[in-house]
Amino acid sequence: MRTKSLLSLLLIGSFAAGLVSCGSNKGKNVTISGAFALYPLGVKWTEQYKTKTPDLRFDVSAGGAGKGLTDVLAGAADIAMFSRQLTPAEKEKGIWVFAVAKDAVLPTFSLNNPAAGLIRKKGLTKDQLKEIYLSGKNNITWGALLDTAYNSPVVVYTRSDAAGAADTWADYFGGKQENIKGTGIYGDPGLAEAVGKDANGVGFNNVAYVYDVTTGKKRPGIDVIPIDQNDNRQIDPGEDFYENADSILQAISDGRYPSPPARDLYFITKGKPTDPAIIGFLKWVLTDGQQYVKQAGYVPLTDEVIKAQLDKLN
């Protein structure tokens, strides 16, 4: 009996202490929820911003783009991270969308491919890529694509989980994720792994996954299919920017790499933000925060885009 009352005293005591500590902390809590694609950058930004505003507390969680938007609409989160195009039904809900960074999806092939050298030299045109990824035909041969004797058919891999990357890659051809016909693999790493193993495999990955952001080199096993944008069946010096992370990020930033498959990543709020803490954070992200974008493997926004976003906040 005595131990029991002691225990309950302890429990009540700690509960009261918790209440007091909650009450005394006047810091505001900002909740951010949403896309996995933007999560690493979201964490980086909040960590940096916290050092400037110690009384702000951030709670960043990743659960998918739709989860983030649903949370924001329900009031469970202040900001949603979003990585795909909004559907018409989503646009009607009175939300404010701010582009905060750029990213790109790159088509990939296996380093085991016997025609790897030729793929790097000739690349593939947009029409060829569309045929490969969207037609669902399983008899498109590397020989026919590259005008060579290697006659194995191309095998397409795509993301099985609803992913901004897949949506953006399909958007290059005017489609949606569901239009990409191929074996569905779970997650960015799984897809890269599956493509790497299959000599005839092609897939697509986010820049931050194709290149190791710390070394700038391509991940082992896969390589990027260069896009032959002027259809002259060779990769001209102007189309050749896949060497390392810096060169591709530069090409995305100045528009030499097409958009889509380059895409904007967004922060979304319910209505125009009114809370000064959130406005402050968004402004910081669009100004000083942009310096952390590149080291996290994303592409910083151009000055006009940033200005357009800041105008929305004023």
Partner: protein, 299 residues
Amino acid sequence: MAALLGISAKLTNRISTAWLNFAVLFLILLPLVIGVGLIVKSLPLLKEAPIGTMLSSSDWSPQQGHFGFFAFIMGSVWVTLLSFVLSAPVCLLAAIYLTEYSPGWLTQTMYFVIDVLAGIPSVVYGVWGVLVVVPLLADYVAPALGLSTTGYCLLSGGIVLAIMAVPYMLNMLMEVLRSVPIELKEASLSLGATYWETIKWIVLRKGLTGIIAALSLGISKALGETIAVLMVVGNVAKVPASVFDAAYPLPALIANNYGDMMSVPLYDSALMFAALILFVIILLFNSITNFFLYRIKEV
């Protein structure tokens, strides 16, 4: 404690009975509540499209408003059947050997192995499937049969599921066979039946209801398993034509799309409807097994 607080034994008894009733009632109502919740959430889709076409069509393009679930239903059914065919005979034979023939230390070791297998998280089975089963099928099995496959196929899903179902089925089968009274076996043996005849005519017959229950537990487990299957099965929304084709079971559909698409009203509703289909399949399946068990008990 009760005496200390001055509550009479009668009252304590009544309170505890009430609690027990409440607990049971809660558990009985739980499936009902889940079912109703799923129906309510699927209503927006059900208003939009006729249920018959959705169940029989395999055209899955939600952004264009086509919701066909047939490919997913077939994906679930095939992967479950395949895992059952692969695991049930092995489990039954192993259970007979381990309870009737094997030395005690082996049975004890097996119990340990079962516990370990049951304790491994399903995502680990999935990773193992990707690293071992998928390349095995793609590089050796399919070429040996003159076929080509990516390895992410129905058969990979079936194999991974079969292995995951083994600990549950085997454990229950062993318990069932051990519970057959020794006197029955002694009687059979004393009448001149051989050991194998005794197993066939006494042990298996006596344990039939338990065996069916154990196998149906394995099937239920396979129907609902999500992440491990999703990682190896290929996830193509098409009715598979062979075991080397990719398939797309219902749980995988929900897990792949829920977080990202829940802000699109019809898509969200479609995923809830997929959950409802799964719920109904499991309900039907359990009703059928229960009916058979009832018939067997009557005989």
